[in-house]
Amino acid sequence: MPRRVVILGGGTGGTMMANRLRRRYEPSEAAITVVDRDDRHVYQPGLLFVPFRLAHADEIVRSRRRQLHGGIDFHESAVEQVVLEEDKVLLADGTHLPYDVLVVATGAVLQPEETEGLTGAGWNENVFTFYDLQGAEELARALEGFDGGRLVVSLVDMPIKCPVAPLEFSFLVDWHLTERGIRDEVELTYVTPLDAAFTKPVASAHLAGLLEEKGIGLVTEFATGEVDGAHGRLVSWDEREIPFDLLVTVPAHGGAPYVARSEGLGDALGFVPTNPSTLQSLAKPNVFVIGDATNVPASKAGSVTHFEGETLEENVDRLLAGEELSAEYDGHANCFIETGFGKALLIDFNYETEPLPGRFPNALGPLPLLKESRLNHLGKLMFQWLYWHALLPGRGIPGIPEAMPTSGKERQPEAV
């Protein structure tokens, strides 16, 4: 009888794992089921461009089902809960799905309701997020009607998906306003709860420099306690205030709602405690986790999910064979950072090594690290094609190894 592999989530990680495992096993060896609540797969990096009408909904949304290779069962239903003790998943449509191996790939969800006032007065009027498609489209309309004043870009709390995206939005909106000839009419401010522009020191220094060059104000250690859209105020827990005419914010994130309903599976925020090297859950040996759904100390990003794929495929196989797991995943992440005017930065890092300057993918590589270039921008655009045609099918990306390459990185002393 084939082993039963159930994958929760048909996004980046779930689709990629289903396709990898389908290639690895004959149908007589493994039955693979992917569960998702809908059939809309959003290319999330594209959301950044929607507010500027540089990307449109019809280009970045495709059918989830159609990204899955033949011989994979797609079950469209929300998840009610995982019953770890009985090795089964209960679905909202009443189905019980027993499994031999479970892969949790349900990502992170936006929780704007966690912040007082955020979804109250002004929501989608002078307070927006571009982190979902509807919000990004509403923001596009608002930006068109915006002709000056205080524009604030903020993130409420870490962790968030793609932690560089709000910075990219700031750079792109600076470009957008410049092109429209109204940049001088706008006071642009970036607000973060972190103690610097980004999470790691060398990259933070570079990014803070870029903000300054572009005349974007930086407010750090601002932990948003309340959003008051009616009076255009952002209020921190320690009672500082930042006034705005237009707020673009990234709400707090948590795990998918069923995680909290599944006893023993998740942490306080609904993420699943996961071994950072093997990607096995700490909840039970036959439960693995990939992508944004984990609590591992890596960015919540598509590149992380992609680089996790090889380790996870290997470990599912080892678990089914009763062998010891391999501890291969190194926390590798790789992100293009759009900086506007047709340029982008690139950062490449892992659990141990922070983003450093240099070249990618090696010392002679074409892409400069932590430095603006047109080639990096083209790389970001090309990535969309690779996403649908290499990443989701579970293939490697030519020239980009799963483990972080060290050649090409300029080692630096700790302080900058």
Partner: protein, 105 residues
Amino acid sequence: MTTIETHVSELERDAEGFLVRPEQWSRELALEIARENGIPELTPRHWQVVEFMRESYLTTGAAPSIRALGKESGVPVKELYSLFPKGPAKLAAKIGGIPKPLGCI
């Protein structure tokens, strides 16, 4: 009877002042670190948070974020900010002698 007191100035700390070896921590040291950071006394509410932080770190290997603290420590976020101004998770971790919370990447 004599006691040998260790002072925080004698211990190895990272650039931001977090203890490198959490096992060297004691309640007396916590008070010293708190004072260094502008908190003159540790009230029972401070201790509730510091002990929760330390306990979580020692059992799970990671310090909780502010939001997780607000949900699980029994002290709401608003009060966390009045107890530990600016960065409650960071400051409570420092006082509790555990590494800087990794939560934000």
